[in-house]
Amino acid sequence: MTAPVSTTPTTLPASAAAPVPLTRLTMVELRKLADTRAGMWLLIVIGFATVATSAILLGWAEDEEMTFTAFYTFGLAPSAVLLPVLGILSVTSEWSQRTALATFTLVPARARVLLAKVGAGALIAIAATAATAILAAGANALAPAFGGDGAWSLDPSLIWQTLLFQVIFVLMGNAFGALLLNTPLAIVVFFALPTVWSILGGSIRALADASAWLDLNVTSQATMEADMTSGEWARMAVSTVVWVVLPLLLGGWRVLRREVS
């Protein structure tokens, strides 16, 4: 080996003292989402399922329902459901595969690693939304051939609202992953807990008021309709704090403190 050992070994080289830039860490975390078999297959499945949503609309939807808005909003469903799993894996696999040992040895500032994971999660959500838009455009171009309407109008507010929707759920995956640090447990709780809460909120009258503010499944539905009202924004903000921000803070605290072995 030609390891260039510094001439005065007790002095620290500048390259080792300066922190790893957050952009670089985010790129690494983004790459880690897709460089394992599990991650790659999850992305492939999301891609196929999104194509399938367009195929379903082209094959079975009413003619006037074949619009760009319809292809786009329906096309978001697979990534909305499955991308959070990637968000969960991004955090939990460090512990289940024990890569946390190597990761935190290279970057002792664990908060920065977690921040990079959140950044990578947001970026993959944005990328998936953009890809869905392109796919929806392709499907909509084919729509007239299937006798569809093929209208191109998309309310601009829908772009931002759906982007936010996608990002929120991937970060919720990150948050549940950090909170539970166990892949199967985090996936089950991620899907089961909000559903149980939705059922309780829907069936128990005393919880109905609370559920209108705290059920993210309900409040986030508003993003799929153009021009959310301020009340809808407020309700979604509150439920996002409960289901995303709080778990992320608690999970972050847990990751920072947990002993790595």
């Binding site: 080996m1 390891a3 260039p4 050992v5 510094s6 070994p9 007790t10 002095t11 620290l12 080289p13 390259s15 080792a16 003292a17 300066a18 922190p19 790893v20 670089r24 860490l25 790129m27 690494v28 790459r31 880690k32 460089d35 394992t36 078999r37 599990a38 991650g39 696999s93 595969q97 024990r98 890569t99 040992l101 190597a102 935190f104 040895t105 290279l106 970057v107 002792p108 500032a109 002993e259 790595v260 072995s261």
Partner: protein, 299 residues
């Protein structure tokens, strides 16, 4: 350079590491020896900032590990070769580390080749690697950032004799160029050839430490005689306690000259009289660690 000062880690009532202090100088290989569960791994994890110490401190080149922004460029660490994502290829594992450290990924194939992982192995997923291949990948990982300091936990585990020989050469060369190496092992034989200094730990406490040569010398003298009873009586008069081996030779904690002169004066016939060397060190190692019951490895 690694400095460990009064490092202590308690888990509940159990003291996994108890007031451990030692230093590793540039240009030397330090063997960190102890039975399984003695506190070696916990100590190394504390050095690398993965486990917060209960008290005491550890620094690398004067800086606490957790305060290094990009430690991979100064300290190469291999704590557990199996702790890599089973679904990643060997090449990808190194590429991720290279990007994190701000290095060109173009160096990856060459670094893999240097540890004996060829192109085919590089493209395989870690799941398919043998433990020996994982150790090689781990060594390439640790040395990827051209560090000045290496911290390795049981790096010889899973390597075949040829692999162990290769690794010794690698570490010796690294230290001879001015690098600092700290490597742990539960087997004296694995490290005694390559180490300059030894730190022996048992039950979380340092049992002995020093230059290997001094420790080997302090291990005593091997004596064989025609008349074991006469030798025994002589040793008793000298106030020494010998340890008799299965082959009849006796390990005496004194230097050869003292024993030779006393034997001549007493008319005891000696068949063999030599420094005990590594055999003695092994004996000492076993004796020192005999009281240290291997406990469940504290994690």
């Amino acid at each position: 350079m690694i400095t460990v000062e009064n490092l202590t880690k308690t888990y509940g009532a159990q003291r996994a590491v108890d007031g451990v202090s030692f230093t590793c100088e540039p240009g030397t290989v330090t063997g960190f020896l102890g039975p399984n569960g003695a506190g070696k791994s916990t100590t190394l994890r504390m050095i690398c900032g993965l486990t917060p110490p209960s008290s005491g401190r550890a620094t690398v080149s004067g800086v606490a590990y957790r305060r290094l922004g990009n430690p991979g460029r100064h300290v190469g660490v291999l704590l557990d070769a199996s702790a890599q994502h089973a679904g990643r290829t060997g090449r990808e594992v190194l590429a991720l580390a290279a990007i994190t450290m701000g290095l060109d990924t173009a160096r990856v194939p060459d670094r893999l080749a240097r540890v004996g992982l060829d192109g085919t192995a590089a493209k395989r997923r870690v799941r398919a690697y043998s433990l020996g291949m994982r150790q090689r990948l781990g060594l390439a990982y640790a040395m990827l950032g051209d560090p000045a300091v290496l911290v390795l936990d049981e790096p010889a585990n899973g390597l075949d004799p040829e692999g162990i020989h290769w690794m010794r050469g690698l570490l010796r060369g690294f230290a001879d160029r001015g690098g600092t190496v700290l490597l742990s092992s539960h087997l004296l034989r694995e490290v005694e050839v390559v180490a300059d200094r030894l730190v022996v730990i048992g039950n979380g406490r340092i049992l002995t430490q020093g230059d290997k040569e001094a420790l080997l010398g302090a291990a005593g003298t091997m004596v064989r005689t025609t008349d074991p009873a006469a030798l025994d009586a002589l040793l008793q008069r000298m106030g020494l306690t010998g340890t008799t081996s299965a082959d009849g030779s006796v390990l005496v904690p004194a230097d050869a000259q003292t024993i030779g002169q006393a034997a001549a004066a007493a008319g005891v016939v000696l068949l063999e009289l030599r420094p005990a060397g590594s055999g003695g060190l092994e004996e000492m190692f076993l004796r020192l660690t005999a009281g240290a019951e291997p406990e469940k490895a504290a994690r």
